[in-house]
């Protein structure tokens, strides 16, 4: 059974017919070719597939595309057209990655945090990252990258 869905992704409306079992992460990657959202563990543990649905971070490997029907979805590609978002700059400046596989999920979770709490403590950042796993670096530089972005936001007054 095919079900019509209309999902706004990064500000653009996409209408498709999908099977009910199509997971949002495959919908984004395979159908919309937005491959910045990664599939890591596929068991809602690692957070590599984190996107925003209606401004809240969720793991898109555990959401059906049909559940996102009528919703606003933001992926890593939607943060900025040219990697100029303060979080993206922060991860470059503070060397917040090695292989980069976890980075899109880290950034989407961090962006959810900064929307709720623009000036988080180190503890609050680490707590917010509970659902995102990095296997290269440890988390020190990731935390610094998010602190860098929080600082940018406080001086620039831009939305996240």
């Amino acid at each position: 059974m095919k079900i019509p869905v209309s999902i706004t992704v990064n500000g653009k409306v996409y209408a498709h017919e999908v099977e009910a079992r199509e997971l949002l992460v495959y919908h984004l990657r395979d159908r919309l070719r937005l491959t910045g959202t990664h599939i890591g563990c596929d068991t809602s543990t690692c957070g590599a597939c984190t996107v925003h649905i209606d401004n809240k971070a969720v793991k898109s490997c555990t959401v059906l595309a049909v559940q996102a029907d009528g919703c606003d979805v933001t992926t890593i590609e939607g943060l900025s057209g040219d990697a100029s978002h303060p979080l993206q700059v922060g991860f470059k400046e503070e060397h917040g990655l090695q292989c980069g596989f976890c980075t899109p999920g880290m950034i989407m979770t961090a962006s959810d945090l900064l929307m709720r709490n623009p000036d988080p403590s180190e503890h609050e950042i680490r707590e917010a990252l509970e659902g995102n796993i990095c296997r290269c670096t440890g988390y020190h530089n990731i935390v610094r990258a998010i602190q860098y972005a929080a600082k940018e936001f406080s001086t620039e007054v831009v939305g996240c």
Binding site: R21, T43, D112
Partner: protein, 291 residues
């Protein structure tokens, strides 16, 4: 991993959801999907139809009804954790909600979905048992209210009958009682570091008299047995005593007395889990001194 094929129907009211359920014995309710979808991806669950109730307005609310808080079944863990009035009057419940999974899981997973799934390692069952909560369910023959004590019946098993839907969770609010400051409560857990599921979780809810004597005690565990349970041995050892570290150390010995079968897996074997249950129990009781 891709789930097996199924049909999908989005219900706009509880009545409509009940109607779809009635017609198909293999239909399942979908709310946040954070228990069901992983099970479907592993093909442990292969429903014929998913009835999506996530967007039904009458299931999305938190209301202070004076003697108790009513939480709609499709309310996310994150919404409970962030709710101002729940934080003000039942802070330990809000705090327990903030310990479930991680931010992303709390943004999608729902309280009704979690208790319907009744994973023995999930957090809500022990919290609801210790809070003396009850669960309102609706079926085609009307609604009924089930005490949390009677709700969790076994390994992933509940008292829900076929065709019934959880609509509300009722959590008593002690601040509305005659002695609003007499309750001390906490939920503590030893979490699996990746999934944040409880290897052992312990919820403690105590009523103290003016001189610090424990008058009523509710203690419940998750993660230990094949279902969440009330540790009546611990409760009996607490009532009549003064809340202190010594009382906690003595009472925690009975932590697993009511467990039927202590779980054992590659995170924690039976002996270690039993030990952890006592340690977390002691910590939780002691933490009530500072609540």
């Amino acid at each position: 991993m891709i789930p097996a094929s199924f049909d999908y129907k989005r219900a706009s009211s509880v009545a409509e959801a009940l109607d779809i359920l009635k017609g198909d014995g293999d239909a399942k309710i979908l709310a946040g999907g954070h228990s069901l979808i992983p099970a479907m991806k592993l093909r442990l669950s292969q429903p014929s139809v998913l009835v999506d109730i996530a967007k039904i307005p009458e299931l999305n609310f938190i209301r202070d009804r004076g003697k108790y808080f009513a939480i709609g079944a499709a309310t996310t863990h994150g919404a409970v954790a962030a709710h101002k009035s729940v934080n003000a009057k039942l802070w330990w419940v809000a705090n327990a909600a903030s310990m479930i999974g991680d931010v992303q899981v709390r943004n999608a997973g729902t309280i009704g979905g979690a208790i319907a799934h009744a994973d023995p390692a999930s957090d809500w069952p022990a919290v609801l048992l210790a809070a003396n909560a009850s669960i309102k369910v609706e079926g085609t023959n009307g609604s009924r209210v089930i005490a949390a004590q009677d709700f969790f019946t076994g390994f992933f098993m509940t008292a829900l009958e076929e065709g019934e839907i959880i609509t509300e969770i009722h959590i008593p609010d002690p601040t509305s009682s005659d002695t609003p400051d007499s309750w001390r409560s906490t939920y503590q857990k030893f979490a699996q570091p990746a999934s944040r599921f409880a290897i052992v979780g312990c919820a403690v809810n105590l009523q103290l008299s003016a001189d610090g004597t424990i008058e009523q005690a509710y203690v419940a565990f998750n993660g230990v047995d094949s279902k969440a349970y009330r540790a009546t041995s611990v409760e009996e050892a607490l009532v009549g005593r003064t809340l202190s570290d010594e009382t906690a150390a003595g009472a925690c010995d009975g932590a697993t007395a009511q467990a039927e079968l202590i779980m054992s897996d590659h995170y924690a074997d039976e002996v270690y889990r039993e030990h952890l249950a006592k340690v977390i129990c002691k910590r939780a009781i002691s933490a009530c001194m500072y609540d």
